[in-house]
Subunit: 666 residues, 2 copies
């Protein structure tokens, strides 16, 4: 078997056209047949035919009010001056709302508009409250009773005539209609207890790979937890289909072929994940080719290039790449339209909005790129910030608010450009999100969580670009809040001088969040004997740095300067991480021997910590946002929330004695 190193790179629109034409040509993009379900179980299902009413609703003339049924000609002439009496039982029959109108009667007078009289008795006003029940229980057949009315009735007044709601033969819901709660009511009212709905499209998902293991397995190096099929199954469910997940198939051509044959019998669409690339153990294309036809292998998108569109025994069979973001994007592009077609409904295009992109995004020409972004609304402007672009970074999808597409011919997008965002969250959620850009601190994650717990409406989204980046974001109107710990070497004071310099014209409030310890992280037991920055010049020590503009980077550079160390002599100085946890992770995993970070990150990954400095970490925010409800809620959590203080202290390395204190206000 050959190893195809190079895939095709068919442009996306051409690939989609080819695919949809094939589906059309083969006749598999038509709606599936109907099946009978109980109306009360039909919520969310799609009608397989128009449903017309079998009976009218109401199916008899019924009273629309509590009162008395009368024959309207007998009420003629009634007035305030000449009240008219109608004998109860003969000329006026008591009816409650919904009661049938007795034969020969054709109007209802509301109970509020009658007075009940008994012959030989003093009048009793029905409005006094207990007259009617009293009458019902105490009257004898001998004693005649009347209602007295002071206005004539019009024909059919206060009567719900037959078919007022639904006329038999009337259309209740058309074909290809998604059944809602009110439709269920109308179908039942129209005499239906069962309804024909489309069979749900069955999508068989076949996870493949010798290295793939079920979640919960005892893990050994080289194992990959199988979760893609569960993401795809969830998507199928959300789109109205019925996901069927097969067992894991090892990388073996014959076994894969057996599984595909089984799958095409079991479902309407088959998805193989993964083995769709061109590696030595990527058998998907070969299996599809041997069983049927590979229509296309490789689409010019990023991520998601190594997708396979195939055909086996009259069924669409797709090879979906293994990286989770690639799997998500290709599945959405090529499978979603078909699932909707099989149901006979249109899928709802995602909401979009126009946003300004906050940083430049470079892109490789020749591939249409799908960039995950966070979106925030700061002032009147939606701001889009790109997040990690690795196809293997599932968390980039978890955190994303939407996608932007960079066209195949483009080399990227400049900062400040307006972009069209395909939303993954609602606009409303986005507008209720506080955008925090700047330095990272673990306490921010806790703050986000407590905010959501106390005020489910609001979210805190943080992007980590370092302290300087945060202040610049405030200046540009791209963030509500910036986390910052910038030491001014001249004054020994944190943040204030930087704010005055960078944001001279803005009214800023600077509030303390925490004091925290910074130190060198090393493996448990400190095997390399690292005790300070002077050790970074050693040949056997690899350092991991923070990015330029980070407060921690400034601190690093200050120490090196004070010790007269040339950064060129520090191995790993050029390897930059964007968060404390990134640094901790590099140390834990042996990518580096040490790096500067906060105690909380050492604790989280069970590393040793060599303290080197205590610093103040503040939140800066333009005062114009202080009236904003979400900002007020956030400040309330910082100032008053006991649980927040407790969990920050549990992290370790924090002094919260000034939490919520205003440090500076201009």
């Amino acid at each position: 078997m050959s190893r195809d190193i190079y895939l095709e790179s068919t442009p996306l629109d051409e690939a989609l056209r080819k695919w949809l034409e094939k589906l059309e040509f083969e006749g598999v993009s038509k709606p599936l047949p109907g099946e009978t379900v109980r109306v009360i179980d039909s919520l969310g299902r799609v009608t397989a035919g128009a449903v017309i009413a079998k009976i009218s609703s109401p199916f008899y003339h019924s009273s629309a009010m509590d009162g008395y049924a009368v024959k309207f000609p007998e009420t003629f002439g009634a007035s305030e001056r000449t009240p008219k009496r109608l004998s109860i039982g003969a000329q006026a029959l008591p009816v409650d709302t919904g009661d049938p109108i007795p034969d020969g009667f054709n109007a209802v007078i509301m109970i509020e508009d009658v007075q009940i009289r008994k012959s030989q008795q003093s009048p009793v006003d029905s409005r006094s409250g207990d007259s009617q029940d009293a009458a019902q229980t105490t009257s004898s057949m001998q004693e005649a009773e009347y209602i007295e009315i002071i206005a004539p009735a019009t024909p059919w007044q206060h009567v719900r005539v037959i078919g007022e709601d639904i006329v038999a033969t009337e259309l209740i819901v058309p074909e290809n209609h998604v059944i809602r709660p009110v439709d269920i009511g109308a179908l039942l009212a129209g005499g239906h207890t069962e309804v024909q709905v489309r069979v749900r499209p069955r999508i068989v998902i076949v996870p493949t790979g010798t290295e793939i293991v079920e979640p919960g397995s005892h893990l050994k190096k080289g194992d990959i937890i199988e979760y893609n099929s569960r993401i795809l199954s969830g998507l199928v469910t959300e789109w109205g289909g019925d996901p069927v997940r097969f067992g894991i198939v090892p990388d073996n051509l014959e076994e894969l072929k057996k599984s595909i044959l089984h799958a095409v019998d079991a479902g309407d669409i088959v998805v193989i994940n993964a083995g769709s690339s061109a590696g030595s153990e990527d058998y998907t294309a070969a299996a599809i080719r041997e069983l049927g036809e590979v229509i296309l292998h490789g689409v010019g998108i990023k991520p998601g290039k190594p997708v396979i569109l195939g055909w086996v025994r009259g069924k669409p069979v797709l090879g979906i790449p293994g990286y989770p973001v690639s799997a998500y994007i290709t599945f959405t592009l090529f499978v979603r339209p078909l699932i909707y077609k099989l149901q006979g409904i249109e899928f709802k295009e995602p909401d979009t909005l126009k946003a300004m992109i906050s940083r430049q995004v470079a892109s490789t020409p020749g591939q249409e790129e799908f960039v995950r972004i966070k979106v925030g609304k700061v002032g009147d402007q939606y701001i889009a910030t790109p997040i990690s672009r690795g196809a293997g970074v599932l968390m980039s999808l978890v955190r994303a608010d939407g996608f932007i597409r960079i066209p195949a011919m483009s080399e990227g997008i400049g900062s400040g450009t307006e972009v069209q965002v395909e939303l993954l969250r609602s606009k409303n959620d986005i507008e209720n999100t506080i955008v925090c850009i700047g330095s990272h601190d673990n306490a921010l994650d806790l703050l986000a969580n407590i905010l959501k717990k106390r005020y489910p409406k609001f979210s805190l989204s943080s992007a980590h670009v370092g302290s300087m980046g945060g202040l610049v974001a405030l200046k540009r109107g791209e963030a509500h809040i910036a986390g910052t710990h910038l030491l001014d070497e001249e004054t020994g004071e944190y943040n204030v001088a930087f704010i005055q310099r960078l944001l001279p014209d803005r009214k800023i409030l600077l509030m303390n969040l925490v004091y925290r310890e910074q130190g060198l992280l090393v493996l448990k037991g400190n095997p390399k004997n690292i005790w300070g920055f002077q050790d970074l010049t050693r040949n056997d020590v690899i350092f991991v740095n923070r990015q330029a503009g980070a407060g921690t980077r400034l601190l690093t550079d200050k120490f090196l300067r004070e010790l007269g160390i040339n950064p060129n002599g520090v191995k790993g100085y050029e390897r930059e991480e964007y968060t404390h946890m990134g640094v901790a992770s590099a140390v834990l995993t042996g990518v580096a021997d040490t790096g500067l970070a906060i105690l909380a990150s050492a604790r989280a990954l069970n590393l040793d910590f060599i303290p080197v400095a205590k610093e103040r970490y503040d939140l800066a925010m333009p005062q114009e946002y202080l009236d904003n409800e979400m900002i007020r809620c956030l400040l309330a959590v910082i100032r008053e929330d006991r649980e927040f203080k407790e969990i920050v202290m549990e992290l370790g390395g924090y002094d919260i004695s000034d939490m919520g204190t205003v440090i500076y206000k201009n």
Copy 2:
């Protein structure tokens, strides 16, 4: 027991405030506790706590590419001019994407960037396709193999380091988060197989009423099919709760009390439907009062006034009115917020849009009114048209695109006013809806259905205001299409003269839909011996008319004029129906003895038909809309769709020989 005729009429905002304060005070609006579910079953559930990663993903350094793992210092010095050889097996180990990086190795070189060489052999280019497999199968241990590289590797290149996606201890999802497909993937990747999610709020729905019967029962006069509980159950499901529907309880105070006690044990919220009014058999308020507390009975809204907010044994117990629209509105207003609070999430406010109201809506001051409306987008303007306002007309909800609220102090809204619409359908659906206003014909319903079947994206919505009303709607830019059959007595021609007179400045296309027969409808067997308009003057004959501006009304008036009949002498002349089916229904149910309508409506309700005229029914449309995709699809159905023609012919009374023919174009 007293019969309270008059309820309170607490303003809505005050009622809501009182209700939410009570829930808060009693501590029942806090999120419910968590329960453990499998992650793979957690789609759509709400997290009961923050979830942090137990393991990193990947949890070992793994290759990001197919290629060779190397030690980067060993690659130093490689260049095009001085390629470097690394021995396979010792210095370079083959790895596929996802494979662990062997201990001591720290970079990957992509397969595309190496050439494989064998000592004593001529070089084989790996790009030729089969080199590697050939190498794997034919090489012997004795024969040394090398990769040749022409550039050095940078540290950790093409390596997914531990935690690249998720770092152990990192927050995956916060508390109060609705789990999406991607979250399921991230939870599994982070080492979780189970997750704590909120118990679903259980809402017990108790249908009451001696006259209430289960759907599918053999129906007798006075029976009411119970469907409200199924609508409410569907809403509960959509809002994330767990509906529990009890059996029907007859109108009996003791039985109702027993059922309520059972219900408060079984659920978090109890809803009694109905018996919430003040009729002689409305026991709900009394039952709640005897078991607990009625907080409020009667809210100033229409429909929905007779709602009861109550409290029994620490649980909220509501009495919801029996009319379906009232039930829907009060349930949404008073139960939905609580269901969301119990889950710890915010409910999504419905989308809204600003629209121009096409007709005047009068409203009774003192009640906040919820008016169901249809919305269409004609040109650049959203047009809102109010539909039936009866609380008992469930179809008004089925057909509605949204609500508008008329404030309690208002007497109504003038035609042309801008209103705020709370949407029940998506904006996108609304924009894909063809607005047809004008005369009604049963063939329009079939057209709507076939359009949806052929083009699921598009809908046809028709409002019946008569032929004149339709042309006026076109003039005002409120409709895309108008159905019209207006006979010009001078010329004997249909429609054209009216279009020229009413729409002198517009470019209009007039297309024939059908020719159809109009006739007098009478009960089967014609018991009253009605054979023509002259019979309408008889004392024992009650007529049902169509509204002014309807083509059928013009036809009626023409016949009466020709016969010299004074409309005052026609009993029922003033009773107006808006559709042919409305006329047919009035005749079938005995509200009237006869009325003028089309044959299809007689057929639908099995009435006899006395033909009096054949007329042309056309569709008029401004030519500016002809380029619109949805209009093109509609015209394609009218002109070419075989199934449409067939089902129109099945209705009876139609001549389709000119269907789709252009009658007039200016």
